[in-house]
Amino acid sequence: MRYEAPDTIKAAVGLLSKAKGTSRILAGGTDLLVQMRSGMIEPDLVVDIKSIPGMREIVAEKGGYRIGAAVSGAELEEHGKVGKMWPGVVEATNLIGSTQIQGRATMVGNLCNASPAADSVPAMIAAGATARVVGPKRTRDVPVEDIAKAPGKTSLAKGEFVASIFLPKAPARTGSAYLRFIPRTEMDIAVVGAGIALTVNAKGVITAAKVSLGAVAARALVVDACAKAIIGSSLDDEALDRLAAAASAAAKPISDKRGTVDFRIKVAGVLARRAAVIAYDRARG
C-alpha cells in the first residue's frame, strides 16, 4: 500500500488519475480505516488530503459557507455561525459516531462513503448544499443528492474527489432540522433519517420546503411530495399528517439486521413530522 499526502489539489488529482488498482481518499479516516482493518478493502493507494490548503477551513462565501473536505464534525460545531444558519446540517454531522470520532469524521467523507444511512446527507440535501468536485478534466459543482448512486457507489469519475461543500445563504425565516432513529442513544447507524429545511413568511405560512429521507432506499431520497404536503400551510395537524403519509409512501426500505420494512416506513413518517415541527419553530424564531 502506498500512502501519499500531496499539498495541492492538482497533485492529488494527478495521483488518483494515474493510480492502478484500488485508491482511496483519507480525510478523517473514520470509514476508511475501519474498512481496511476489517478486510473489506485493501487499497493500493491512499491519498491523504489534509495537507492541501483550504481542506480544513470554513470560509464565508456569497452569504453562505464553504466547508473544506477535511473539516471535522467538532470543528464544524465549534465554528458556531454555520450551525446558526443551518442547525439541521451541523446537528446531523455531530450525530456521527462518538466524541472521539467527531474529532476526525467529516461531512464529505460521510457523503462519499455513499451509505444510504449517512446522517449528514439528508440534512445537506434539505439545505440545498452543493459539492465541489475537482478532477483531471474540470471542476464542477454538483447537488449533494447527485453524489451517491447506490450503497458504496458514487457518481465521481476516476481522478475526481469532493474538495468542499457549499451551504448557500439561508433565506430569512428559514429553519432546518435532522432526526434519526437508532435503537440506542448514540454511536449507531440510522435506521431511518429525516432532514428538512423550510422557510415561512411573516404570517407563519410555509413558502418553501425541502425534505430528504435517509436509510429508506439505496440512497438518500429527495421527497417532493413531502415538501408539497406542507407548503402553503402553517404546519397544522392536517399538514403534518399529509407530510407523514408522504414520507411513509416515499420510503422504499429493506429489512435487515437494523430494522424491518414496516418499521422503517412507519418511522419515516414519524421522524419527518417531528423534524418539521422543530424546523418550523426555528424558522419562526
Binding site: 476489517s38 478486510g39 432513529f181 435503537p183 440506542r184 442513544t185 448514540e186 454511536m187 449507531d188 447507524i189 435506521v191 435487515d256 439486521k257 437494523r258 430494522g259 424491518t260 414496516d262 418499521f263 412507519k266 418511522v267 414519524v270
Partner: protein, 771 residues
Amino acid sequence: MPLDANTPDLRTEFKSVGTRPNRPDGVDKVTGRARFGADFALPGQLTGLILRSPHAHAKIKSIDTSAAEALPGVKAVITYKDIPEQEGCDKDVLVNIMARGTALYDGHAVAAVAAVDASVARKALKLIKVDYKVLKHVTDVDEAMKPDAPVLHPGRFDPVDFSTLENAAHVSGKEERKTATPAHSNIAGRYVFGHGDPDKGFKQADVIVEHEFKTEATHQGYIEPHACTASVSSDGMAELWVCTQGPFMVRDVCASLLGMDVSRLRVTPSEIGGGFGGKTTVFIEPVALALSRKAGKPVKVVMSRSEVFRATGPTSSASMWVKIGAKKDGTFVAADAVLKYQGGAFPGSPVEMGAMCAFACYDLKNVRIVGYDVVTNRPKQAAYRAPGAPMSAFAVEGVIGEIADKLGMDAIDIRLKNAAKEGTVSSYGPTFGPVGLVETLEAAKAHKNYKVKLGKNQGRGVASGFWFNFAGNTCVSINLNVDGTLALALGTVDIGGSRASMCLMAAEELGISYEDVRAVIADTSSLGYNDISEGSRVTFSSGLATIKAVRDLKVRMCGRAAKIWGIPEDAVKWENGAAHPAGSNAGNFPPLSIKEIAAQASATGGPLAGHYEINAEGAGPSFATHVCDVEVDPDTGAMKVLRYLVVQDAGKAIHPSYVEGQFQGGAVQGIGWVLNEEYFYGKDGTLQNAGFLDYRVPVCSDVPMIDTVIVEVPNPGHPYGVRGVGETSIVPPLACVANAVSSAIGVRARTLPMSPPRVLAALEGVAASKA
C-alpha cells in the same frame, strides 16, 4: 493453639472487611500499564491467524495448504492433521478448535498459519484452498428438534419419541406428537426436575397463565478479545501467556489435546478485560501451541472482534413454555415448564441449570421442569453469567407478572407470598438453608424507587432471581515477608476486584492494615490446582482459603513467639496483629508484633508461610429482586430505562463497592439482552452482525445509574458469611424490563430482544385489536 476459640466460625464484627479501599490493580489499569492478553511479546515471535469456515454447515472435501506453505515468511500451516486425537481428550473441544471433516458453523476454524508478520499471515490464509460441499443447516432450536431437521452429528444422538413424555405438545407441536422417529436427532440431552403432582395442583387453581417465550443468543461482550502467546521449545517445554478465567483449566485441556505431560506446560494468566464466563474454555490456545510446536518459534494469536462473535461461545438461544396456577390470594398451587436451549454445534447448553433455576425463587408443592439440550449450526456456547438462568427467569417471572395483574395484586406482595425461605424444598431438590429472598423483596418494597409516581407511557416492572453459586477446588499460599508485610498468592484470576477482597480478608484475620498485603495471581507452576474463576465462586472459595491460610500462618507465628518466650505453643494467642501470651498463667511477656516475628523468622526456624487447600462446599445461594421503570415512545417503539434498582443478598459484602459493581454490571448486561442484543443470522446461516456496531450492547447513555441495595443474610458456609454475588444480578433484568413495558403500554413481550421494530409491531397489533 486453640485457634477456633478466639476466631469463631461466623464472624460478625469487622475492621477491614466492609471498607472500600482502592483496588491494588487499579492504578495500572487506569494508566494503561496493566498487561492484558495481547500485551505479551517474545523475541522472534510469529503472528498466528486462523482460517474460518464461511459456511454454516459444510463437508470439508479437501484442504490444500501447499501454496500457503510456499509463501516466503510463512513458518507453519496447520490443519486438524497436526492435532491428532489423543486418548482421553475432550473430543468436542478438539473438534471445536479445528474442524475435522465437517465445518459445523460459520466461523468454525479450518486451518491456521504462523508467519513473520500479520500481512504475510493474511496472504497465506488466502492461499489455503478448502473444497467445501455445503450442507443444509439449522440455527433455530425449534427447527433443530423437528424430525426433518438436518442432523449435525449423524449416529450420535438417538431419536426422541415425545409421545411417551410429559408436555409433548410443548416440545414439537401437536402434529408431531407422534414423532416419525428419524434415524438420528439433534437432541443431546433431556433433564427433568420437580416434585409433587402439577396436574393435580392445577385443578386447585383459581387462575392459570401459560405462554411460550423465546430469547435470542447473546454474547458476553467482553471488551478484550481472546489473545495468547505460546512458546514451545525443541525439548517440548512450553509456556503460554493468555487471557483466561482459568489458567489451570487451560493448562490441563491444552496438555490433553496436544498429548503433553501437564508438567511441561506452564500457563501465566494476564489481566483480564472481561470474561463473564466466555473465557472458561479454550479456543485459540491449543492452536497457538500447535503452531509454535510446528514452527519452532513463539506464536501470538489475537482474535479480531468478528472472530470473537463468530467463533467463541455466546450463550444459548431458548424456546420455552411456562404455566403457573394460583389461588385468588396469590398462592401458587402448581408450576410447569418445558425449556429448549440450543448450545451451538455441540452438547452442553446450560438448559440443566436453567431448569434448576426456573422456579428456585418459590416455595412450590407441585412443580415440574423438563429441559432439552439441542445442537444447531452455531458456535459452541460457553458460560455466560448465571448460565441458563436469565432465560428461564424471563419466562417464569413474566408469567408471574401476568398472574399478579390478573389478581390485582402488588408485584412484590405476590412474590413475598410464595418466596422460598430457610427450610423450603427447592424446585430442583435441595432444602434451602438461610437465604435472603424475602429480605430483598422487603427492601425493594421500602425503596424510594418503588414509590415514584409514573407518567404517561411509563411503567414499572419487578422480577426476582436466583443463582446457586459455586465453590470448588482452591489453593492459596500466604508468605510473610522480612518486614512483616505479606505476599498472598492466589490461583483464581481476578475478574471482579477479588484481589482487593482477599487482601481485606487477610488483613482482617491478621489484625493488620489492608496496605500490608499484596495479592498476586500465580501461574500454574506456583500453586496447586484451582478451579476456574466462575460460578461466583472466587470471593467465597479463595476468600475461605485465604482466611484458612492466614490461620495456618498465625499458628506458625504463635509457635515462633512461644519459642522466643520459652512457653508452650498453645499458651500463645493472636490478637490485633501480634502474638500475646494466652493468659496470666502463660507468663508476662510484651506482645510480639507481626513485624517483630518476621524480623526473627530466620533465627527462629526459617521463612514463615501459610497454606490452605480445599475442594470447598457450602457456597450459599444469592437471591435478588429488581425494580425498573421504563418509558416507551408509542410512535417508534423506542424504550428508555428511567430507573433501575438492584437489591441482592451478598451474605457479607467484603468490599461493598465491588459488590455494587457486580450488581450494576449484571443489570446492564441483562438490560442489553432485553433491549437490543441478539445473534442475527442470515438465511444462509451466517452471522450478520459480528461487530459492536450491529451487536448492540448498551452504551453509557442507554442506562440510568443503577441503584443498589446490599442485603446481608450471612452464609453459614463461610467464616465471614460471604455469598457469591457476580451472577444473580443478570437473572431478573430480562423479565423486569419486560414487565415494566407491559405496565407502560399493555404489550407483553415474550420474544427477545424487545427491539423497537418488535415493540412497534406489537403496539400496532394492540391498536388493531381495539379498533
